[in-house]
């Protein structure tokens, strides 16, 4: 990673001015004190010819709205749009309203790369919020690095990556996994684990980390299984689980497979509320439960950083705003919340830098704090991931999670964990 910290006197000045201004900006939704655009002449803030005018700045949203991933990415699009609308209502960034160009990645990785290039090269957007799967991120990463773009990526993911041009607003694998396993082995006295996932890089890496950590704690992995993405028949693995009798089923099944897995698990007579075995998932958010049905997953535990039922004030406002904007029956999952952070973190960084220039924004990003995040306080780590708490919650029949545990400290993001590779 090459981050050049420029000691520009002008910048230092604006930064100071801004920081003092920021302190006065009330939290979300309250109308902040708009910064007049004249203080930031376009010629000075547009960086390397970004799409910035005297009263607008253009950003991109790049998610799949068609294809197999559309169902997962829909929430992220809504969250990003909501955040941008709220920022605009507060007066925008550096006195400029944010305009959005939305592109469809169509669940197809080469399309993601093409659209990313279009956003950066043709539209010259100042930032892109988008991508969901690891594959789409891997596809666009070289584009962002080559054209020096800025990507805010919302999904919890496998780690093993760090780029100057990407900020990861979801948790990387160790943040999500370690606390969860610590908790089940301490609170539930779990010794044996059955690892089950969809067959791609994220579940495999996650399970690798989980296995190391389980063995470190003196536990035992009694089975590890992977099924192709979109697989719909889990009876065999359920039989295996029944025979091996693990204390914990550790599940990282994704997408439509989730629905099949939990419905079949329930049908096979495994009642998760009895916690024999206990099910701990790192992939089922409230969004997925809508498809699975609350009654089919009742009693399962999830280990993530955000749940819709969090009771802090930020979250209550966020949930209210989200429902007002997108309808009452909407649910909000971990990734949706992480996607919501993207525009706000970008706003904070831009205002700290006093310019939209990508290099400047990146160089001031480390250490940016956000007290107003629905999940609570977060901070950007030097490795471009977020410091965040990890929480354990139990699924309720109404499709919501009830938080049962929360780490005391923020978990440090560690995309290249020593001893877990």
């Amino acid at each position: 990673m090459t981050q050049s910290r420029s000691a520009n006197t002008f910048l230092a000045l604006t930064r100071r001015r801004l920081l003092s201004g920021l302190a006065a900006v009330p939290i979300l939704l309250a109308l902040g004190q708009a910064v007049p655009a004249q203080d930031f002449p376009t010629s000075e803030v547009k960086g390397n010819d970004l799409a910035v005018t005297d009263d607008t700045v253009t950003v991109g949203i790049l998610h799949s709205i068609t294809g197999t991933m559309a169902l997962s990415e829909a929430g992220s699009v809504q969250a990003e749009k909501l955040a941008i609308e709220q920022i605009n209502a507060q007066g925008g960034i550096l006195g400029r309203q944010i305009e959005v160009i939305q592109e469809d990645g169509a669940s197809d990785w080469p399309t993601f790369a093409e659209k990313a290039k279009k956003l950066l090269v043709q539209d010259k957007v100042a930032a892109v919020f988008g991508c969901w799967t690891s594959a789409s991120r891997k596809a666009v990463l070289p584009v962002f690095e080559q054209y020096n773009g800025l990507l805010y990526y919302p999904t919890f993911y496998e780690g093993l990556e760090q780029s100057k041009n990407v900020f990861y607003t979801g948790q990387e694998a160790t943040q999500q996994i370690l606390a969860g396993i610590d908790w089940v082995s301490k609170e539930k006295d779990a010794k044996t684990f059955y690892l089950l996932g969809s067959d791609y890089i994220w579940p495999r890496t996650s399970n690798k980390i989980a296995r190391k950590h389980i063995e470190k704690l003196g536990g035992e992995v009694v089975g590890e299984d992977y099924y192709p993405l979109g697989h719909t028949q889990f009876n065999s693995v359920i039989n295996k689980i029944k025979l091996r009798k693990p204390d914990v089923i550790y599940a990282s099944v994704v997408g439509g497979s989730n629905v099949a897995f939990y419905k079949q698990l329930k049908a096979a007579g495994i009642d998760m509320t009895e916690e024999k075995p206990l099910l701990l998932t790192i992939s089922v958010t409230e969004d997925e439960i809508r498809g699975i049905g609350g009654e089919n997953i009742e009693g399962a535990y999830a280990s993530m950083k955000y749940f819709q039922s969090l009771t802090n004030q930020n979250n209550e406002q966020f949930v209210k705003a989200f429902k007002e904007r997108w309808g009452d029956d909407i649910v909000i999952g971990d990734v949706t919340q992480a996607a919501y952070l993207g525009p706000w973190l970008w706003k904070a960084a831009v205002e700290k830098a006093g310019t939209f220039d990508i290099d400047e924004v990146v160089s001031v990003s480390a250490g940016i704090e956000m007290n107003e995040a629905p999940e609570g306080y977060v901070r950007i780590h030097e490795n471009h991931h977020l410091w965040s708490k990890t929480r354990i919650a139990q699924a309720q029949p109404d499709g919501q999670y009830k938080v049962v545990f929360e780490t005391d400290e923020l978990m440090e993001p560690d995309p290249f964990p020593e001893g877990y590779q």
Binding site: I65, T66, Q102, E103, D104, A106, D108, W109, P110, T111, A113, E114, K117, K118, V121, Q122, T133, S134, A135, K138, A139, L141, P142, Q146, E158, L160, D199, Y200, I201, R204, T205, K208, P228, L229, F416, Q421
Partner: protein, 392 residues
């Protein structure tokens, strides 16, 4: 090459069946196409759009092969993505090995192997990756691997007289199976992510704008060459035999020809051309992913050929450009609705314009142009091209 094809028409009216390499008219079309993609596009499009057109042109390779395979020989393969993908994967493996030098991958637990292998706890380079250190081998493999697979499929199917819709769905099933294989064996193939982060070709950075510009011309040049090659096959005796096979397979068989051998040849040929397209795709886009091997791209490529006109090589290229341009534009303008447009296009082309753009041109535009003296040639008023007539 053109004159040799006259020999066997015997006493028939030569002027109707003779099929010279290109008529004057054909050369005119060729020149227009060459000027369009070699001069007009590079001069009028910005770097981003030109790179996109370059990407579309790699699909046009597949469409060319499909014209020969489907339009002329009646073999509908819904698995051309397999060959496109395999060609692309061969190229990607070479580029990935080059990008995974021990120095570049020093942070891995096993330096010197591609990063995704390291993530999957593989500690040495699998045997089938090793030859891809050699550029020469890679160039051969790009064409040879898909052609060998095509031969195996073709041999198994055609010698047992499997054809038509059944052949189409078997190729499709194979495409699906290969996708699952590639995704499932992620330690060896990169899984669903594909092989990403390709940077240099023999030390030449393929990501720069200049490199992309040069690669565009390489792609365009190879496409024009492939077009000539396809045309050469088409005007040869073999080219006319496969048309006969398409129209009345049994009669050709009873005449003593080995029908299967001709079909296998055409299928392998189309596979080889598609593979070249795939390799160029990898070079221009910088990664290869299993999505290309699957069912969806395979069928989309058939649609490119269908829109352009399944009987016309030129049509296939224009069709590919047009559909992809439409797809990009639609999805930029109406991201939520473009699938309706694409689906509608599929249905409309099949229902209303089975001969695609080329058919429309031949029916409505060409008769007017033909009236201009000296533009095509003296006999141009009549249908000169035997395959221009749609067959039942």
């Amino acid at each position: 090459m053109g004159s040799s094809s006259h020999a066997s028409t015997g006493t028939l009216d030569k002027s109707r069946f003779a099929n010279p390499f290109f008529t004057r008219e054909g050369w005119l079309y060729f020149a227009i196409l060459a000027v369009l993609i070699l001069v007009v596009f590079p001069l009028t499009l910005d770097a981003f759009r030109l790179n996109n057109v370059g990407k579309y042109l790699t699909y046009a390779f597949v469409a060319l092969g499909l014209v020969l395979c489907w339009g002329h020989s009646g073999i509908l393969s819904l698995g051309q993505g397999i060959f496109f993908g395999l060609g692309g994967y061969c190229m990607a493996m070479f580029l990935k090995l080059e990008a995974s030098s021990p120095e570049n991958t020093a942070i891995q637990s096993t330096p010197g192997i591609p990063d995704f292998m390291d993530w999957n706890q593989i500690t040495e380079l699998p045997w089938f990756w090793a030859p891809f250190h050699s550029f020469g081998f890679t160039l051969i493999a790009i064409v040879a691997v898909p052609m060998i697979l095509a031969f195996v499929i073709g041999f198994a199917m055609f010698t047992r007289r499997v054809g038509g819709v059944y052949f189409a769905i078997i190729t499709q099933a194979i495409a699906a199976i290969l996708t699952i294989l590639i995704i499932g064996q992620q330690g060896y193939t990169g899984g669903v992510n594909g092989i990403t982060d390709l940077r240099t070709l023999l030390g030449w950075n393929i990501r720069t704008s200049e490199a992309q510009f040069i690669l565009y011309f390489v792609c365009a040049g190879l496409l024009l060459a492939s077009l000539l090659l396809c045309r050469a096959v088409h005007v040869s005796k073999l080219g006319r035999l496969v048309i006969a096979i398409r129209d009345k397979e049994d009669r050709v068989r009873f005449s003593g020809y080995d029908v299967a051998a001709f079909k296998i040849f055409v299928f392998c040929f189309a596979a080889g051309i598609a593979a070249i397209g795939g390799a160029l795709f990898t070079l221009q886009v910088g990664f290869m992913s299993p999505t290309f091997v699957g069912i969806v791209p395979s069928i989309e490529m058939v649609i490119f050929a269908a829109v352009g006109g399944r009987l016309s090589f030129f049509g296939a290229i224009y069709g590919t450009l047009l559909v992809n341009y439409a797809k990009s534009t639609f999805s930029e303008t109406f991201p939520e609705l473009w699938l309706f447009a694409m689906g509608g296009l599929f249905i409309a082309v099949v229902m209303a314009f089975p001969d695609g753009l080329a058919g429309l041109y031949h029916r409505h535009v060409r008769p007017h142009l033909a009236k201009i003296p000296g533009l095509f040639d003296r006999q141009s008023g009549r249908g000169r091209d035997v395959v221009a007539q749609p067959a039942e």
